[in-house]
Amino acid sequence: MAGEVVLLDFWPSMFAMRVRIALAEKGIRYESKEEDLSNKSPLLLEMNPINKQIPVLIHNGKPVCESLIIVQYIDEVWNDKSPLLPSDPYQRAQARFWADFVDNKVSGAAKKVWSTKGEEQEAGKKEFLEALKTMEGELGDKPYFGGETFGYVDLSFITFYSWFHAYEVLGNINIEAECPKIITWAKRCMQKEAVAKTLPDQKKVYEFVVQLRKMFVSE
């Protein structure tokens, strides 16, 4: 179970953050190698030749790619503490569904909010807020998506919170006004050490996104 764990990482990536939270929750020691995505390392290209993307978890020399697949892998290998997925198959299916929803609906729309302008951005904002409202509906009155405890869906979604300030400024939206329960939930998650220590400061992310936006939008 133990052995060498290396994470090919990128500090603002909400996908890499998911893996860092999972590793922290399980108390796993690992080495983080920060990638320069404009100059990808030979190791990254060797470990993920298909997508050439981070995060990549390298465990005893073998790579695991795709953030949600990595998190499930971590949960299955280090299965002696802090389970991330529920044990009941139906609840597991539900958890996987909602994490996928974050990837399918929240993520794409969120990207439009910071990387486009004009009509395309307006459409993106609408999509993003609708997706957040759907998540809010799923959360209901539960403290976490996982129920009483922080779990797989919470982990998959909370990392986007570090980008909220960037979405709000660049998209001119007020997420708390539109989805107050999501903000309450996010702040609750931030009380957890694994989350608080992993998520970068929202202002730092905003500065990064402002630079990144220049590659997509001429203003």
Partner: protein, 223 residues
């Protein structure tokens, strides 16, 4: 016996994955065929977010998204396992299934709806993706080894839909020389009894896909 219902269409390759999984495991279930131009209220109730097939309803509880349904089936009925036991191999299987759905399917579809230079570029991309899959097979009978598994079911559409598109458009994407392993996998997979007995009727598929391709090709054509 537990109550199991599968909502599907006669042609959906995603629903077919679930049919195969249930049949491979010898599980009894009822089938409800949907008309997607007139979705039943039950379907909309069970899958309010995506409103799509397949939906598997087990004891009244709905499951959606074909690959997630396959994982649920595998975890609930342990005979004829679809995913390997080793976590590293499981992660690899999940990766390839996701790669198939996220990248391969669209890149292959693009070959058949685009024309001229766009089509040439689409062929390069599709064959690059297929090359990755070819290497992943590396001498195995199935992606899962000696028996059909999760990744084989995920790529099942390659074993029949692709040849239908190739026939309609007169373009060969998987030729035996460039993709010997994939070609053999297609034979092995398509010929397996459980798989073969569930194929939708080929002539109906040709008619349907001909119409679909016409619609999408005209959308892609330069205006």
């Amino acid at each position: 016996m537990a109550e199991l219902k599968l909502f599907r269409t006669w042609s959906s390759p995603f629903a077919l994955r679930v049919v195969w999984a249930l049949n491979l495991k010898g599980i009894q279930y009822d089938t409800i065929f949907e008309d997607l131009s007139n979705k039943s209220s039950l379907l909309l109730q069970y899958n309010p977010i995506y409103k799509k097939v397949p939906v598997l309803v087990h004891n009244g509880k709905p499951l959606v998204e074909s690959l997630l349904i396959l994982e649920y089936i595998d975890e609930t009925w342990k005979q004829t396992p679809l995913l390997p036991e080793d976590p590293s191999e499981r992660a690899t299987a999940r990766f390839w299934a996701k790669f198939g759905d996220d990248k391969v399917m669209l890149s292959v579809w693009n070959v058949f709806i685009k024309q001229g230079k766009d089509q040439e570029e689409a062929i390069v991309t599709a064959q690059e993706n297929l090359g990755f899959i070819e290497r992943q097979l590396s001498g195995k009978k199935f992606f899962n080894g000696e028996t059909i598994g999760f990744v084989d079911l995920a790529f099942g559409w390659l074993a029949n839909l692709l040849s239908i598109w190739e026939e309609i458009c007169g373009v060969t994407l998987i030729d035996h020389e460039k993709f010997p392993m994939l070609s053999e996998w297609i034979q092995n997979f398509a010929g397996a009894p459980i798989i073969k007995e569930s194929w939708p009727p080929r002539d109906k598929l040709i008619t349907k896909n001909q119409a679909l391709l016409e619609v999408y090709t005209s959308k892609e054509a330069p205006k």
